[in-house]
């Protein structure tokens, strides 16, 4: 049975022969993953959409240079990561203001959420967004997208030791961030319940 990698390579061969329409298969397969990475890195839906589209456009015109030794997913995530990092450097992303936070998809504050325990998904998203970008990308690539250490080394052009150390530090930050948020919320909820 053909692996995902084999199927991707077959589609790429077809595109290079002149069947450009086949590119939509690769877009369909990876658009959510690429969009998610971009959104988690730049924290803005419009910018994330533009960046993610740019990733695919760049990938399309670079298909001749694609090395089949590597998985297509690794390659396209590398393009996505590099574009996001370049974009953030240009924009010098700061921590979000309260107004911007309210516009994020998971953070529709309402009166009810004051009294009820917030969905764990929201907490996790806040925790991830709170990480510095260098550590955030590692958590996303390893634990969310399921890339191996080897793949991550290729995506980020970093040696294995650096990737491992940073990921370990990222996990510790993630843990501390979650603990802070949960303790903050439990204190907040307790206070509201007293009222």
């Amino acid at each position: 049975m053909a692996t995902l990698q084999d199927r991707d390579h077959k589609v790429i061969e077809e595109i290079l022969k002149g069947n450009g329409e086949r590119f939509h298969e690769l877009i369909a397969r990876y658009k959510n993953g690429v969009y998610s990475i971009c959104l988690r890195m730049v924290k803005d839906r419009e910018e994330a959409r533009d960046l993610a589209q740019e990733v695919f456009i760049k990938a399309y015109y670079s298909l001749k240079g694609y090395n089949r030794e590597y998985k297509f997913s690794t390659w396209i995530f590398k393009i996505a990561t590099n574009l996001c990092i370049d974009h953030l450097r240009k924009r010098k992303a700061q921590t979000l203001s309260l107004d911007e936070r309210l516009s994020m998809p998971y953070d529709a504050a309402s009166a009810e959420s004051v009294y009820f325990h917030r969905c764990n998904r929201d907490e996790i998203n806040r925790v991830i967004d709170g990480l510095p970008e260098d550590y955030r990308i590692l958590i996303i690539l390893y634990h969310k997208e399921g890339l191996s250490y080897q793949d991550i080394c290729q995506v980020l052009d970093l040696p294995m030791s650096k990737v491992k150390n940073r990921l370990h530090r990222a996990r510790n930050m993630l843990k501390e961030k979650l603990r802070e948020i949960k303790e903050e919320e439990s204190g907040w909820t307790a206070k509201e319940l007293q009222v």
Binding site: K17, G20, Y35, N120, I140
Partner: protein
């Protein structure tokens, strides 16, 4: 086992790279050390949370935006690289082959003295062409 070693084993656990002995040692330590146990639980919750969240869905018009920007005929118009390179090398090889045959037929059968005279004449001709080129350059330079 100390907490530093336990911390390292916890990382192996989340790397899914733990052997049976490491697992046993970690379980034993976590039963005994409430600090490490608490840290482990927090990290487990955080990482399992990350692993369980779904990807954000790309917007509905996402693909349309891409297809507006790319040229679907781009690779159809490209010559395969290997064909153009083979053609180029074949042409260059033929050229040098003909050139070599020409020079051999013209000069290869000559006496060695005649060869030297011919070579000197060729070098002299080269010098004259070089001088002429310099002169043309000066003239155009003045006009410019």
């Amino acid at each position: 086992m100390d907490c530093k070693r336990a911390s390292s084993l916890i990382m192996d656990y989340f790397d899914r790279n733990m052997d049976a002995m490491g697992q046993r040692d970690l379980d034993l330590h976590l039963k005994q050390c409430s600090l490490c146990r608490r840290d482990f639980q927090w990290m487990k919750e955080a990482i399992e949370g990350v692993e369980s969240i779904q990807d954000w869905q790309a917007p509905e018009d996402f693909e349309i935006g891409i297809f507006k920007e790319i040229d679907l005929q781009y690779y159809r118009r490209q010559k395969p690289i290997y064909k153009s390179r083979v053609g180029m090398w074949a042409a260059a090889s033929l050229y040098f082959a003909f050139l070599s045959i020409f020079f051999y037929l013209k000069y290869g059968t000559m006496h060695w003295e005649t060869k030297i005279i011919a070579l000197m004449k060729f070098v002299d001709l080269g010098n004259r062409i070089y001088g002429l080129w310099g002169l043309i350059g000066k003239v155009f330079g003045k006009i410019g």
